[in-house]
Symmetry: D2
Subunit: 318 residues, 4 copies
Amino acid sequence: MPGIPPTRFVYLGPEGTFAEQALRTIPAAERGSRTPARSVPEALDAVRHDDADAALVPLENSIGGAVGVTFDEIVDGAPLMIAREVVLPVEFVLAARPGRSLTEIRTVAAHPQASTQCRGWLREQLPNATVVDVLSNGAAAAAAAAGEQDAAICAPIGVTRQRLAVLAEKIADHGDAVTRFVLVTRPSSPPPPTGDDVTSLAVFIAHDRVGALLAVLMELAVRGVNLTRIESRPTGEALGRYVFFLDCTGHVADDRVGEALRGLRRICADVRFLGSYPRHRWGVAPHERPVPAPPGLSDADYADATAWLARLRAGELS
Amino acid sequence: MPGIPPTRFVYLGPEGTFAEQALRTIPAAERGSRTPARSVPEALDAVRHDDADAALVPLENSIGGAVGVTFDEIVDGAPLMIAREVVLPVEFVLAARPGRSLTEIRTVAAHPQASTQCRGWLREQLPNATVVDVLSNGAAAAAAAAGEQDAAICAPIGVTRQRLAVLAEKIADHGDAVTRFVLVTRPSSPPPPTGDDVTSLAVFIAHDRVGALLAVLMELAVRGVNLTRIESRPTGEALGRYVFFLDCTGHVADDRVGEALRGLRRICADVRFLGSYPRHRWGVAPHERPVPAPPGLSDADYADATAWLARLRAGELS
Amino acid sequence: MPGIPPTRFVYLGPEGTFAEQALRTIPAAERGSRTPARSVPEALDAVRHDDADAALVPLENSIGGAVGVTFDEIVDGAPLMIAREVVLPVEFVLAARPGRSLTEIRTVAAHPQASTQCRGWLREQLPNATVVDVLSNGAAAAAAAAGEQDAAICAPIGVTRQRLAVLAEKIADHGDAVTRFVLVTRPSSPPPPTGDDVTSLAVFIAHDRVGALLAVLMELAVRGVNLTRIESRPTGEALGRYVFFLDCTGHVADDRVGEALRGLRRICADVRFLGSYPRHRWGVAPHERPVPAPPGLSDADYADATAWLARLRAGELS
Amino acid sequence: MPGIPPTRFVYLGPEGTFAEQALRTIPAAERGSRTPARSVPEALDAVRHDDADAALVPLENSIGGAVGVTFDEIVDGAPLMIAREVVLPVEFVLAARPGRSLTEIRTVAAHPQASTQCRGWLREQLPNATVVDVLSNGAAAAAAAAGEQDAAICAPIGVTRQRLAVLAEKIADHGDAVTRFVLVTRPSSPPPPTGDDVTSLAVFIAHDRVGALLAVLMELAVRGVNLTRIESRPTGEALGRYVFFLDCTGHVADDRVGEALRGLRRICADVRFLGSYPRHRWGVAPHERPVPAPPGLSDADYADATAWLARLRAGELS
């Protein structure tokens, strides 16, 4: 973030979940304060009310339960901005108090979504164990540490926090799942473009236009702006409009993204800009992955076309 | 559903939640057996393994926590089919044991997402009460009935089941929210077209095609097929493809939907047909809302064009 | 035209044709010199070599024989600009020396395309007359005046020039045909926008791009720019490219046309701007036909979107 | 052509022009009768009235003067069909009576468009010669043969017919120009597909639809049908509609072309099918250029998609 870097961070709690683990990959958060929030709205409100400088909340995938509404909550209320994304592999572990072995495990504390994602592993490795639902991955680790249950399905950070021992690593049935978190701040200038950025938008479309989404995508396609994510959100029919959350390639400072945004502004009932920030690729540093603009769509191409148009308007054909 | 109607139903449990309430709006389910499942995957697996005939699971909105992955789970494994949708208004109530008054309430049991959706009401009406997280709306009602907490935020069905009294109705901050559930069965012939149907699809797109989503939407738009919902789902980058879940207007038996489906089949890496079923409009019976096909796109228009083409191929111009 | 108005005009000759008639509808031409040229290229070369200030040549319809190549000739060579269009109804007359009556006519001088366009009338009214081909409508009138043939099919201006008498008016079989002429000058600032303008372009597309024309039309459609004319021109296959001549609604000074032009510049192998000029509607004065910009596409809408984008880039969300 | 091959041919006359030369490349015409017509309408009417079986008329480029209206004339009246195309390089020669040398030439007979296309060569090689306009390339050759002028610009066939000698070959300024002729018959079954065919259409669009041409192109693009030629034709404004002449890749018997045609039939005010016939590539035999259908758009792909749709409708998901 430009200007003063944030020092007071909130994240979707409780402690010991993937959200905390994601937050701690950010150097400024490692140095600053880190406070868990009970819910995504609570985390975002803390930023809105200046009780915190930035909130780390999940955006995609189902770990932690609160995803899905995050975009709704960002849009609903005083403006907020996404300043950064963190993509984290979902690596569930089975953990227990030190000294326990896998064969002794009779009960496993787990968030329902965590046990669901590991159900193949549980069926094979612990066919006789009972899964006990708890409210979060952090609570699962705490229950194992307190001896309430024999073991826990939790995030690696829960193991560290609760001084547990790992009985089995990477027990999720789909080994390549990831969760995507975003760091949300009050509005300010977006971070500078890196050449591989994401721009997030909320686009509102009037109810009665046939092909309205097609028109939105054409505005993007004509400028070579790709979508990496799209989600329509249900709104009450009485409201008579649709909202789409879009993640696009490129940065608001890029000419082609700017022109696409202006186009959406002109044709849509409303457009909310939610931020431009570096794309996070797991294990790939930004400087290792220069992503050239598509042919004809670089800032230089835009500058050339603008200069050419100025010549035409001045009567200088060539 | 054509053929033998289902008699054994599962639903996302526990008892006393919106899912059970939605299921009981279906006459056949009212007459048949109704078994709660611990998770969406468990509910779907019961159908896949013929332990049940149909599963009622949430598809949109966040009540109950398990939404969002429902489509993933339908697609992942032996084929299933959506045979029906049920759209339910989200009507949270504050309930307590009979005889209690609002002023006495010091603790409120609630699923975290339920308390989040009612946080404005809680702040105004019960500013000093403590919210205690529980694992479901059904568990909240049970906790109030058992006297563990003073009151519960729950669904109307939880009040009935636990013989509670309603202290306040419609306490959600957004009064017009709805949850959409679907009834999932093993594959069979879709229910007949009603003139106002939804067709659900999972569309897989190869990673490296620019504008691939635009191409998908053009296949639909050219046949006058509208989208009512779209969601991209994250896949591991290693997989190198994107999946989109689409809800379209129309029925697989309609010529225009059939032609659009054939077009998607030809251009996409994969297409999974997930069902065609009557659109559920809350409070509107199907016969009250005839929806004419767009100009040029009725089955009669298709028949006319097909006959014309046959004449051309036979050398009969006119 | 801004700057010094043209005083030396050439037109596709010979004298006494529709081209001269069209030229004389322009007040400046009525006051200036008017010289016939033997061909469209000769007329354009006179402007290119500064032997004339402006050339009036046909662009559409087939009267006079030279149409069709006009755009080719404008594009091929030093830049020229279309400064004005003149649309003229095609009103062929049958004319003869004064005193002749229709029943006496045995031979009719006519350009082959003129007699073709009047063949229904000739069959009915002069079934026994012989049509004698001549090289132009002007030559037909001259042949009748010289007594070489009994009558001529010609333009009204040919009647005046050769002091003939009209035997029959409006004898073309299609009464509503028009010919479109353009006034071509050396490059200068286009005439100011009137709110109902035409912009002419030549767009070159690389051979191997599938859907390239669709991409061109999308650039226009996204900015609400309509096409009123399109023509692909054959190029040798060895050249490996296609050229399209487009007439679009709007003026190069309009924001939406400017943005569309910049888009074409970026995606096409080459774009030649050929002029922006008031649309000529026969019998309708410009001030009687205000044409509002499509919703969201006025210059004010563009200004609003540009200001909004500047706010986003500055971090001012609202 | 299927059925009885044509034996009576007409062509745009007079004798000794490129049209006759093009006709004689067709074996059946070499064996049958060949009659010149005074104009394109006259040639087409001969076929309509069964005075001839087939008419060879120019469609593109400007040699002979009558092009451009050919499509209009095909559409206007009883249905006709394009059964074949012939593409001929434009090879103008300078010819004179045997024994003459270039240095003796003082006058050159030429059709105005022919002399226009050779004006660079004339300026360099015969700067002092006078060009005398005549009505056709055939008339030019005849004038040279009769000794009325010293030489003629004409087609190679004019040299043969009039027993002239060639003084200079390939004198057109643009060496790679071609003229495209079509052979027009009464309606019958189109010739069988070769894998590299052209389909010609006239598409009528209602006046008041914004983006109507874009909709037409989308119908084609979605089925992978490319355009090789497009031309809008002026219609009187009173008619309130536009007509576009399109040449598309593929054959009416191809599934993808058939589906695109049916789509156009459904959305356009009117569609006139004008024929499917092998694409003529100069100097390339059809069997040397197999052109595979685009991915997903072969007849086999269509058959696969149709079978898949049938399975879906029967409730067989997989």
